[in-house]
């Protein structure tokens, strides 16, 4: 590190002309390097955002003719009971999916235990759900949750508890969904937390134990504060992902499920409005509102981080 830092200014100082050329070229190279990412983001993220905002002020006929309708799509949002319900479900889901964070920290801490055998086996096991296709995840859990023949109810029956039709019962369906969502996220979160745990210098623990701190106290006074940047990162991602829940809802709660109303998220409602009912302009307005909510929550989280996130 230090040799490079010293060498660069030394050479540049010797040849001012070279320095200028180099700077010019750096300018070009810098942009060339980020071009693929910027173009990709621009074409596949930013441009659709701009288009969606535009579409939210229009109404579409089925076959692509659109007309400007001003704010009427947004007005309709206030009277659409299904949208209100979807918002409630989405917030509940997003909030509850934060429960995955303490679970992931516990998993990461366990996987990080010194002298643990078969570490890579366990790591793979926990990470597997992350890379499993949502379709497969939804199918397996649908079987597990089956009221009459599901494994979960069978296990419960052994201890004398009578289960229910977990994903067809309106009062349990959303929680059943949260459980699956959290389950699929644990592996990803745990990897981030493991990296965070490993970057905590061991001398801090030594110092703490010399000062007489027990393991519990070490966890709360050393581990947790130094892990807070990872916790912050994961919680921002969890909230964003939670608000955009779609695939599992679409796959597990099909038409005709009595709990559908209680599990529809904003994005799954967006999908049916836009692509099944053909109300593309109205659906775009739903998406724009969701984007603003997501933006707001993320800004709030970034503001709040000063209070509890410690960067070492």
């Amino acid at each position: 590190m230090s040799t490079v830092e010293r060498a660069a200014p030394a050479r540049a100082a010797a040849h001012p002309a070279t320095r200028r050329r180099l700077r010019d070229r750096e300018w070009v190279w810098g942009y060339a390097m980020i071009a693929p990412l910027v173009l990709g983001l621009g074409v596949f993220y930013l441009w659709p955002v701009v288009q969606s905002v535009y579409y939210s002020f229009t109404e579409w006929t089925l076959f692509g003719d659109s007309s400007w309708v001003g704010l009427s799509n947004y007005e309709k949002l206030f009277t659409d009971a299904a949208y209100g319900k979807a918002l409630r479900n989405t917030f509940l889901y997003g909030g509850l999916s934060l429960l995955g964070i303490p679970i992931s920290i516990a998993v990461a801490a366990l996987l990080n235990t010194k002298g643990l055998k078969l570490v890579s086996f366990y790591r793979t096991l926990y990470f597997l759900p992350v890379v499993t296709m949502p379709t497969a995840v939804a199918m397996i859990w649908t079987w597990l949750y089956n009221g009459d023949y599901g494994l979960i109810n069978y296990a419960l029956s052994l201890v004398g508890i009578e289960g229910t039709s977990w994903i067809a019962n309106p009062s349990t369906a959303l929680y059943a969904l949260v459980l699956v969502g959290v389950w699929t996220q644990i592996g990803y979160n745990a990897v981030i937390f493991m990296a965070g745990l490993q970057s905590i210098p061991s001398h801090l623990y030594e110092a703490a134990s010399i000062d007489g701190a027990g393991r519990v106290r070490q966890f709360f006074k050393v581990t947790l504060p130094l892990l807070s940047p990872s916790v912050f990162f994961v919680s921002v991602l969890s909230v964003i992902n939670g608000l955009q829940m779609f695939d599992l809802v679409y796959l597990m709660f099909r038409k005709g499920n009595p709990a559908r109303e209680d599990t529809q998220t904003v994005v799954s409602l967006f999908f049916s409005r836009a692509f099944e009912e053909g109300a593309k302009g109205y659906a775009a307005a739903m998406a724009v509102v969701l984007m603003l909510i997501t933006l707001l929550l993320t800004v709030v989280q970034f503001r709040m981080q000063k209070r509890w996130v410690h960067y070492a």
Partner: protein, 419 residues
């Protein structure tokens, strides 16, 4: 960072792009014209479609037909996007709930003139089907097939409970009495499956009670009509008395599978599911006409039609192909496959004989009492909400009348937005 939302929008755009690449082939250099024909049922009907095309190209060597299969779940999304991009298939399958929208928005080619010119006899098809595809006095499709609903029953369960098999004389009261005798909680056997499915289940009883789903002028919902509500209550009684599995149970376990595995003694289902009941091993199933309600007999009739895309590059060739699809020859190929009842008059016999172990004649005998599948111009604008509402109405602790009346208001609002 709102990835998925926008990804969806992108996905829509991609679908449009892909569809644009794949359909509507132009004329080849040797003067050969290529048509694309889209359909959604490969498992039951793929073979028949291929055979029909083989026959067609034999007599029309200058036209090539490419089959384009899309699973039913994505069919309409894809077709709609392709039509919006001006590149839908030349000829494709159409159904009742969608015809109003597609025809009224100019996506389909009217064929009344061609029918008159080539003297195609529309009298060979059931009138209710021809009417279904007539919008504002213009014909848009030639019926392809049709289906009615019947009362499927498990003979072994009837024998065990010593109940006489259903026949054409049955009424609602016979169903009620039989369901009571057939239910055996110890064995997990239910008398009947009261699932919240419209076409197979509650539309039929709504009509049998003298109710309606959409008024004839398509302006009013029938769900606040006492007769309609009576048709729904027929099913709710079975659910309340536990003579049917609960809606939750039937969400977890497909009632079709429950019937096949002997958990349901009676089950209302369409002629299109006949092949799987006739072929399930260990299942002795048969079918009878639907029992009569307070206002007599009724069954839902629905049928598909073949239609031509309004912006096809080869209207003449597409019409030739459409005419062939509506011919006796093409219908005969369908009949022999057993998958669907062909729409063409006189060919129903062939279909009835395709599965001799079940009494398929029951579906044909009901034709005089058949009521068209209820549709409006934009059926999709209310049908999803309808399924959700009736599912709720059929769930534990819900009052059918209250929920149905609430939905009537929702549906009326949707109907009022149709132009």
């Amino acid at each position: 960072m709102t990835g998925k939302t926008w990804a969806l929008v992108c996905a829509g755009a991609l679908v449009a792009g892909l569809a644009g690449c794949s359909s509507s082939g132009g004329g080849d250099s040797d003067g050969k014209v290529t048509l694309t024909y889209a359909y959604w049922d490969e498992k039951n009907q793929g073979a028949a479609m291929k055979k029909i095309i083989e026959e067609f190209t034999r007599t029309h060597p200058s036209i090539e037909v490419k089959l384009q299969f899309t699973p039913n779940k994505e069919y309409w999304t894809k077709l709609q996007t392709a039509a919006a991009g001006g590149s839908a298939p030349d000829v494709f399958w159409m159904n009742g709930p969608r015809i109003g929208l597609y025809a009224s928005q100019g996506a389909l080619m009217p064929i009344s003139d061609q029918i008159a010119q080539d003297k195609v006899d529309m009298g060979k098809f059931p009138k209710s089907l021809v009417d279904l595809y007539t919008i504002d006095g213009k014909q848009y499709g030639i019926p392809k097939d049709f289906d009615t609903i019947g009362l499927w029953y498990n003979k072994a369960l009837f024998d065990a409970a010593k109940v006489a098999y259903p026949d054409a004389s049955w009424t609602w009261d016979d169903v009620r009495a039989a369901a009571k005798k057939l239910t055996d909680p110890g064995k997990g056997v239910y008398g009947i499956g009261a699932m919240a499915w419209p076409q197979e289940v509650y539309y039929n009883t709504i009509f049998q009670a003298g109710g309606y789903v959409v008024s004839d002028d398509k302006k009013k919902s029938g769900y606040d009509d006492p007769a309609t509500i009576e048709g729904l209550k027929f099913w709710k009684e079975f659910l309340d008395q536990k003579l049917s599995p609960s809606i939750q149970q039937m969400t977890d376990n497909d009632p079709i599978e429950m019937f096949k595995s002997g958990k349901l003694a009676m089950w209302y289902d369409g002629s299109y599911d006949a092949p799987q009941y006739a072929k399930t091993e260990g299942l002795a199933a048969d079918v009878a006409p639907l029992p009569a309600g307070p206002k007599g007999k009724a069954t839902v009739i629905h049928g598909l039609a073949n239609v031509v895309y309004a912006k096809t590059k080869h209207p003449k060739e597409a019409w030739e192909f459409l005419k062939f699809l509506g011919s006796e020859q093409a219908n005969k190929i369908q009949a022999e496959s057993g998958a669907v009842i062909p729409a063409y008059e006189g060919l129903q016999e062939t279909w009835v004989k395709s599965m001799p172990n079940v009494h398929l004649q029951a579906f044909i005998d009901q034709l005089p009492d058949a009521k068209p599948y209820p549709v409006s111009k934009n059926t999709a604008g209310w049908s999803a909400a309808e399924t959700d509402a009736i599912t709720k109405a059929f769930s534990d602790g819900q009052d059918v009348e209250t929920v149905a009346k609430q939905f009537a208001a929702t549906m009326n609002a949707a109907l009022s937005q149709e132009k």
